[in-house]
Amino acid sequence: SAASPREQHVLREWGHAELLEVLEARVRQLRAEGTPEMRVKKVQVDRPPQGHSSRWAQKLEAEKRVKQRRQKEVDQQKQALTQEFWTLHKEPKIWNKKLAGYLQPSKKGTPTNSEEKQLAQALQAALGRLSSREAEALARKKAKAVEAQILVLQQKFLAFFECCVCTGQVPLAHHVLVTHHNNGDRQQVLTLHMYNTVMLGWARKGSFRELVYVFLMLKDAGLSPDLCSYAAALQCMGRRDQDVRTIQRCLKQMMEEGFQPQLLFTDLVLEEEDRAALLRAVVKAEPAFRPPPQAPSPVNTSTLLKDIYSKEGPVSYPKLHLPLDTLQDLFYQQLHVELSSSVCVQSVEKAPVMSKEVIEARKTLQALREQWEVELLRVLRETKATMGRQAYEGQPTLYPFLCLLSEGEFVSILMQVLKVLPAQGEPLIQLAHNLGLRVLNRHLVKQKQVTNHVQKLGQRYSQYLQLLASDTQVAPCLPREYWESLGPLEAPAQQPWSVPVLLQLGKQLAELLVQAVQMPRSLAARQGAQRSIPVLYHVYSFRSYRQVGILKPHPAFTHLLETAAEPTLTFETTEVPMLCPPLPWTSLHSGAYLLSSTKLMRATEGTTQHQRLLEQCPPAQLHGPLDALTQLGNCAWRVNGHLLDLVLQIFRDKGCMPLGVPPPRSEAPRPARYQLPPGSTPVHKSELRKELARCLKVAREMHSLRSEALYRLSLAQHLRHRVFWLPHNMDFRGRTYPCPPHFNHLGSDLARALLEFAEGRPLGPRGLDWLKIHLINLTGLKKGDSLRMRLAFADEVMEEILDSADNPLTGRKWWMEADEPWQTLACCMEVAHAVRSPDPAAYISHLPVHQDGSCNGLQHYAALGRDSVGAASVNLTPSDLPQDVYREVATQVEEFRQQDAKEGLRVAQVLEGFISRKVVKQTVMTVVYGVTRYGGRLQIEKRLRELSDFPQEFVWEASHYLVRQVFKSLQEMFTSTRAIQHWLTESANLISHAGWPVEWVTPLGIPIIQPYHRESKVQVKGGLQSITLTSSVDESQKPNTLKQKNGFPPNFIHSLDSSHMMLTALHCYRKGLIFVSVHDCFWTHAADIPTMNEVCREQFVRLHSQPILEDLAKFLKKRFCSVSSIKSLKSSERALVTKLQETLQSLPKTGTFDLGQVIRSTYFFS
């Protein structure tokens, strides 16, 4: 570009410190490469060749010439580098002649004072309305569907611009924007969002001239500015104290486009400083303007939640058991953890004997790591310099991404990933994704530090603790309400990167690892002149016809790691439970961890539809789920230390599979021998190979179980003697989950037994009875007995209970035979303590006591269909003894079998005596959740294989027969269930065929959309290898009808069971209870079980008193059959919609079950 001399001067100031550093580093490096040669040369000059040894002289002379030439090249290169870096495009080429006219005069060098005026004029022109022709062109552009590969490119560009703005490299962003704008073809890639991003960057710097340029380009590209564009322009004016007329014109134009100034303050998420600047500008133009006051938080109006949000009635929300200053202190501990980005935890694995070998291995590893850090730093800098250069040539490279974190941070991320790379290697796609995510997360945390958010959070949190602490007086209210009453605290708006962008960055970082990490060829030999070999190898693995790229460590390196047996484990902060109460969920952007962003709704990476629907929701609609999740997360936990000791004792010894403690590798099966004598036949070798493969398979399975247990137990040990919290979020159906993955109350029996409530409550008059009943429930021994009988049984076996508690590993080991042995043991200990305390009613119990829904899915179906027979079999009707639906199904199946056997059906005869509750249980349970005959047959096949006396050659035929009978029995018993399932499936089928994914709203207001689509493929090219990304959640693809229709009934039922759980949680909370859940299993203190049971039944009745199916039909009709939604459909699709309308009108018929009976049913949840 022909820049004037004055321009050149301005340009020079553009350079950014970061870039300068890179540049200098590169120059240093080049110099280093050049130095030895220069030194040699100097020596030669000092001592010119003497005598007439002409051959020598000639040779030296020649060498000298070569070196001089090389030196010159180096110099040139250096110079070239410097120059390249400094020419940045600033002035765009404006294609539109009319717009271009406004920029003309500046080229002729008009004096500065009129430049302002000219810019203002240019802006004015840019603000002008588009002519109708241009508008048409724009519409055409919009209508064109964007190809997947273009979309990936656009995501890359946008992320590039955003990162540039984050790292203060707006000129670079501008340069790349201009470069692409100037090229007519490449301009197609640029979107309004990109122009806005760069504009916002300039606005923050108060650079009006550049901002006007971007505005012009935006117009020139045929785009129409949106609220963000205007906000950026006004913000810039506010910062510069622009003249009134310009601002007024801008505002006027904005209003003509239909944006009222109030919207600037209500519809945009602004950082505080930006907001102030924006307000300054608006007020200058319109002195009377006041930003709209913070609207009082709207109140949720759902009928189900009326009681929760009513200001009347008794409220006694639980407080935490800890005083304010303790909590305050805990907050700082957690903040410290999150700022330091990873947590080191001592491994509970038995420490190795510190032999010479181990010490040596650790030393070698240490030395290698130091070497790698240096090398990684070097390679990183080199890559950064190369990419920086390419960016300055106008390409959206990863350069600004590599500037987001300090070089040291990148190196430490890479070193961590290297440490946990499994011996059999990791697919590149996974590794890259992991690396990309780590960088993103750390960047987001850093952003919060930069914007002063951390400090503000600290202040706000300590105010918030007033509500929770044991020693403060605050009127009871919900945590979210209290937090909101303290005023807004906006975290900077953070957009995660798209998956292809993550992969691109991750792939680049993985490549650095491959390049930089090397080791001597033989680790045993002392380091010396040995040639180095890479530690990581990029290999392909072949899965049938697919080819998967894998990064695999050198076996010698794996061996070294194993020998060193290092005693620490490293976790990401979000993998560890929190040390202070989580942030209350106030919106889908804020809640859970203090700084690390957590999704309100978990989903596979790349799913955007849930987020979109949640964003469109009026805020009050989500209050129910937000408050329920907050409350589940606010439960304080502690580790049951006594139990942990016992588990560790077994874990460090030989493990015990029946107790769920995976054995160490030393216990893995070994082949009789590894090698065969020479001369063995190929067939012998073949057999040995089979044996080896089998052992290897078992060993690998054992290893993965062992690692999982190691993580869990190490975290438990780490948190022993502490109080901690498990922040929660939900899946797309509203089911709730604790966020920390390794150690939480959702895990196996062992994991659950390790946890107890940090806050204890006295057992009270009936608490001990509930403890005993809970104990018997855990053993699984008296499933068919009444509560009274279970209690009596507990007293009967009290001897055993006490023995288990006192001598768990040396006594009669009664607990080990239980269904849930570890929880049984924990409960035995609690019972022992209670009965031995002077006053059991005053005994402070920390043990969570459970109440389980009996086949909860069928309970919801039976209630939906008011199905009397079904309701009775799943305990919706009061009864003296618990009903067992599995046994009933088994009985029914047995009747069918007898009939068939009589008629001479061979398989029915073979099955005589083999049909039990156990054989059918899993299938009955999962039928509700959509298991098909295919899956059901596999389940039954597994059960039949376990029966040693069943003739195995009949397994296939028998399982095939049985699954048909189970389905048939269920249909007879739950007539309405089948009708409802059918109705749901049919609706989903029609909706999906018409081209939409199924959507609905739960009774608590959560918007749900099924993320099942046809597969889409996107290639991420470049670097080590191309990665093909397949996604089945891509909304731009047609819905996957099979999954949509099969998924709808179970997902719908899950959305109901989650609603029931949340309602119970909220009402329990209002009554002052501690409540947590594992889906359809509700936990609280023993003393509070009666209250929880009451609430649980009440809320089930209230939930199902709503016209749930009618509401669903209404919603589906409005969403999919309205005039606006069928406008764009083809005629064939319209026919489907008509059919859908008919289906929705004919709701399944309901039975005569009286829902109120649930209130009196003892075994509904028990």
């Binding site: 695999k552 076996p555 989950y737 349970m925």
Partner: protein, 353 residues
Amino acid sequence: SDFNIEPLPDSDLEESSPWTSRNRSEPTRHIACKKAARNLVRDLLEHQNPSRQIILECNPGPGILTGALLKAGARVVAFESEKTFIPHLEPLQRNMDGELQVVHCDFFKMDPRYQEVVRPDVSSQAIFQNLGIKAVPWSAGVPIKVFGILPYKHERRILWKILFDLYSCESIYRYGRVELNMFVSEKEFRKLIATPKRPDLYQVMAVLWQVACDVKFLHMEPWSSFSVHTENGHLEKSKHGESVNLLKQNLYLVRMTPRRTLFTENLSPLNYDIFFHLVKHCFGKRNAPIIRHLRSLSTVDPINILRQIRKNPGDTAARMYPHDFKKLFETIEQSEDSVFKWIYDYCPEDMEF
């Protein structure tokens, strides 16, 4: 309570099961022409004493070839997958010189790999025991000759499965160097015998087959020599339009005799998977220099290895002959350069079908 932490498993939603059950109605071909059958008998029996040979015939159908073989005095074991043909075969037993045994079994679905329990009716071990067939050492002669026509839809799958069985000495190859005489389509035939001279056809399969066997082309048979059988008895144009075209292809008879020397060096059923991986890897980027592949496959110094097998580092996979690959593998296996020779790890998914 019983629950599932993960969202619904998708696998349950898919009703479709593997290829076995879906292809019931797939048409099969049989020898229909007596003259062709006579030629085949000559090809199969060669000049050896017929009564000493076991001929395993896959899906004989109406039994035209079976009859001819028996007439020549051979011992024939017929593996018939279609029940309806079995009654037609049994009368043949009576009035012939040879000896006939009939088994109801699909030869090509025998011994499914990677299944924990193999049903007895598809287990070669059980079937061969019933037939009284005994194993002979690898170094001995050919114990059984197999004749069959590869089902055209699964040619590749079956050829791969046989390769795995062969290199791992499982299934029929437990019994020694079983010789296959197979009719294959022209396309697969060209690929089986390809060498670097035909870069468009030269692929992993060619290398693995030629390393393992002496692959010999016997003769081509026009499509008119075959009859077609479908489950419902006739071909429907609309439904099988495509298959009709396929059925009008000529077929190529290939003989594959396992090499006596296949396992005499370092390659063995213990490490053949590494060899497979090596070849697949090289053909993944067939035009990349072989040295680049070696660098990510093995920890042994690649320059040294290439020197030993007299190859240039710049040579590409596509220019190496099958025996070059074997030599390359054997050389690395023998090298005493390093404790760990291969980066590769055993991985069962590598071989699924």
